[in-house]
Amino acid sequence: MAKQAVLIPVLDEEDPTLAAGFAKAANVSGDIGQLSVGQLMWRRFLRNRLAVGGAIVLIFMYSMILFAEFVIPYDHFVSNSDFVTRPPQLPRFIDSEGNFHLRPFVYGTETVLDTVNLIYLHKDDLTQIYPIHFFVKGKPYKLFGLIPWDVHLYGVDEPGTVFLLGTDRNGRDMFSRIVIGGRVSMTVGLVGVILTLIFGSVLGTASGYFGGIFDTVLQRGIEILMSFPTIALWAAFAAALPPDITAITRFFFISIILSLLGWTSLARQVRAKVLAYREMDFASAAKAAGASHWRIILVHMLPNALSHIIVIATLAIPGMILAETALSFLGLGIVPPAVSWGALLQDAQTVAVVLKFPWLMLPGAFVILTVLSFNFIGDGIRDAADPFAI
């Protein structure tokens, strides 16, 4: 024991600096006492590095899709038969002769015919150097669909090309397609979750608060919905969508289909919370004071359940993104010519393709990054909202 006592720096109580330390500590804890619950949660969230990292990644990605037309160098649907499945052109600073360039550049393209497989193969032509310019004038577009503009974030001089993430089988720039596809993939989850939140919290609250026959019927209904493999049911609904609807309508229908099954678990958890709150003193007190059902639910229960609901919602988004990806990958979600990450991944369905053109898998990397970020944030909020939860 004595050994341990030496190893662990135990502060001596007689130490005068310690007394000051205590006073300081007392002050600090006094400060914490004055913080609101929200501020406390915010502090705790900021201490979780993975969650903060996730938040930064997402902010970056969402601004990318918001300013998509500005960020991308090419139209995402324009084919280029000269550059079919060109590997990524990585930006470089040092050329093949070892010279350093302050401005990053990409190499040109050298095309050879593979006489065995009868396809053209592209590789970097080390003799051609195209410096990357920023804020270049290019094809005009409308930012946010409103403001006409023609400046793009980056580009190279003709006849050079800058396919940072390579091209697909029609010679379309993968980066441009991924950014535009992100518009669908990264928002379908948000729209789906908003719908889920509305269905789930209204039904869950009603079911928990009023109980009785309504509760029983709803719970049985949820059980029945949960007995289907979700992807199978999603696919069945998606397959029933009329083929001639516009891409945007299809997008909204897919969101609705996703939330149609997604609300069940949220409703269950909200119901459990409301059931617990119903027994608590503050609810009884409000009832005794003559508050209406609506007032008790909206003023007393909802704020209490809010952090819980936010956590469930944040953790539900990744599931929806993955579901959209899977559906589109199967050809039942977003269908070409519209793009989403899942639809892009349709090009990479077989091992043979992936072995030859690994960069066609890159949309998947964006899926993983997004989903991982949402998961970390959800976990961070959960820990911040309730330190005792799992």
Binding site: M1, I8, V10
Partner: protein, 355 residues
């Protein structure tokens, strides 16, 4: 209380810290007391003063982030009576080691605060009883079952054979606490630690359980450490009492002395805060001003000084009181009894008047 033959457990200068993410919590900051053979020691104090942590230290089952960093717990096993005392240093034993487990549940047993959750819901009462018996006693299954049913009968449970086969959820809170006592006593321990065993029970059941424990103690002559925050229970159950405040024992004495001539200002304040039937005039109950401080921010000097009605500024907030032995086995941690310091104190005369 010295290292005499009547001592069964001696705790000396015990410091226990919890190493948490937000810093070290010093739960015990020098606990001293001793338990005599065949006597009942009450440990009293407000919530958070370290009563339960002390019990966990004696059982050597602190949670993962807790450690006894200083001090010693010595246990004198039953074989040592009369012969050369062979004491066991509990703090020195590895918590999960064989030697400690041979003591735990066998020589030192424990019952807990929440009878509703202290039995595993998926096993019968009998199987949990047998767990302890077959572990510590070299008996056959049949003999073990007899001992078990016997133990259930001893705690006045009706139809012990039926209770043996019952699952915990089929019993009431009082019945469950009786089962816990039966499990604890099934191996005839020499020391029983009862951590607020009646707090969660209703008053009638509480009285029954206390009567039962008192009767069993008289029958078996085991020692009991009775942890409670209820001074009434102390008066009814205990021979000696140790008063704890913020991780330290501030006074240890006999129950009589504690109630009739309490020495530490905290003990006195506690006693003043109990309602008495004999009070003639209807006065307001005294309360101890302030709150128990957060154990991570212990005041310097005597930890009780911010709340103490007899505080001496310039003395109590600077010096940490040592254990001072008064007559009649009474021990107290208070500067009022430190003659040397008091002699140096400029406010001595003022204080003498106030006393």
């Amino acid at each position: 209380m010295a290292d005499n033959q009547n001592t069964i457990l001696q705790v000396e200068n015990l410091h226990t810290h919890f190493f948490t993410e937000s810093g070290v919590i010093r739960a015990l900051r020098g606990v001293d007391f001793s338990v005599e053979r065949g006597k009942v020691l009450g440990i009293v104090g407000e919530s958070g003063c370290g009563k339960s942590v002390t019990a966990q230290c004696i059982m050597n089952m602190l949670p993962g982030n807790g450690r006894a960093v200083e001090g010693k717990i010595s246990y004198y096993p039953r074989e040592s009576i009369g012969s050369q005392t062979e004491k066991v240093d509990i703090t020195g034993l590895p918590p999960r080691g064989k030697a400690m487990r041979a003591i735990r549940g066998n020589e030192i047993a424990m019952i807990f605060q929440e009878p509703m959750t202290s039995l595993d819901p998926v096993y019968t009462v009998g199987s949990q009883l047998m767990e302890a018996i077959t572990l510590h006693q070299n008996v056959t299954k049949q003999q073990g079952k007899e001992i078990a049913v016997d133990a259930l009968a001893k705690v006045n449970l009706p139809e012990p054979a039926r209770i043996f086969d019952a699952y915990p959820h089929q019993l009431s809170g009082g019945q469950r606490q009786r089962v816990m006592i039966a499990i604890a006593l099934s191996c005839n321990p020499t020391l029983l630690i009862a951590d607020e065993p009646t707090t969660a029970l209703d008053v009638t059941t509480q009285a029954q359980i206390l009567d039962l424990m008192r009767a069993l103690q008289e029958e078996t002559h085991m020692s009991i450490i009775f942890i409670t925050h209820d001074l009434g229970v102390v008066a009814e159950m205990c021979d000696d009492v140790a008063v704890m405040y913020l991780g330290k024992v501030v006074e240890q004495t006999t129950v009589d002395a504690a109630f009739h001539s309490p020495q530490h200002p905290y003990t006195r304040a506690l006693l003043r805060s109990i309602p008495r039937l004999t009070d003639e005039n209807q006065t307001r109950l005294d309360v101890i001003k302030g709150r128990v401080p957060d154990p991570s921010v212990v005041p310097p000097g005597c930890a009780f000084h911010p709340r103490c009605p007899e505080v001496i500024p310039g003395l109590c907030d600077v010096h940490t009181p040592e254990v001072i032995k008064l007559g009649g086995g009474q021990e107290v941690r208070c500067l009022l009894y430190d003659d040397k310091l008091m002699a140096q104190s400029p406010t001595r005369t003022a204080l003498a008047e106030s006393r």
